[in-house]
Amino acid sequence: MSEKEIIQKLKRIVEPYVQRNEGLDNFHEETDFLRDLEINSANLVDVILDVEDEFDITIDNESMEGMLTVGDAKNIIQHKL
């Protein structure tokens, strides 16, 4: 799966939890889930579950700790695929 495809899928996954929609207009690796998209931290756990389902991977607790940006998520997904 290409990086571009992963990032497109991530965008679809996070959309329901985003509270700052402007953040979606400029969605790239540096986009921060909490600061730029204002996803609340309880919902960030939902994002992680949805990523597990979408990519059929398991995200362990150590990986979860560092999943704060789109790039972090992309790297974790690439590593697990």
Partner: protein, 185 residues
């Protein structure tokens, strides 16, 4: 050190997290999951645990300045009474007060030397927040500024003085809560 966290139950309860074991296993320790399940109101109990963890996370980040991370399993909750509990981390234990109301849960921790005033508001703008904080301090709004450092930890600065005071803020849905230091000078 201080920290607070507010959960708007009108948003949180419909998410039915107490029925979602996969979610719980990412956030709560086995003993916490058992307590949630056994409680009279599992959904409310779950959000109390969550807000205790978030509140201790904020206080502990202020203490030790760790980089942001999503590590709810590093915070172990111990309920003491209806409104008090302890949160244990690897390095410290925080005493946390939880106000459990029909529409929200607010958890906060304060150090011994710190006597904050807590104010609640329905969703308000940034300017209105500053006005509410200034009013609680008995100061003019023009004097009060909130600054965040590189970790996103907020502090309160008065006018152009170099001195700053810790402040903790939490916002969710329709509610905002602030822990404000009482300033004597």
């Amino acid at each position: 050190m201080i920290g607070n966290d507010l959960v708007d139950l009108n948003l949180a309860l419909p998410e039915k997290k107490a029925k979602n074991l996969r979610y719980q296993e990412k956030v709560f320790l086995a003993g916490e999951i058992d307590e949630i399940k056994a409680s009279l109101d599992p959904e409310r109990s779950l959000w109390r645990f969550w807000s205790m963890k978030e509140c201790a996370y904020k206080a502990s980040q202020r203490d030790t300045r760790f980089r942001r991370k999503l590590n709810p399993l590093d915070f172990k909750c111990e309920i003491q009474k209806d409104s008090t509990g302890l949160v244990h981390t690897k390095n410290a234990t925080y005493k946390v007060y939880s106000e459990i109301e029909s529409n929200y849960i607010h958890s906060y921790t304060i150090s011994e030397s710190f006597r904050p005033s807590v104010i609640y508001h329905l969703d308000i703008s940034k300017q209105e927040k500053l006005a509410a904080i200034a009013a609680a301090l008995g100061l003019s709004k023009a004097l009060v500024n909130i600054e965040k450092d590189s970790l996103g930890i907020p502090c309160l600065r008065l006018g152009s003085t170099p001195k700053s005071f810790p402040i903790s803020m939490s916002h969710h849905g329709n509610f905002s809560a602030f822990l404000i230091p009482l300033i004597n000078s």
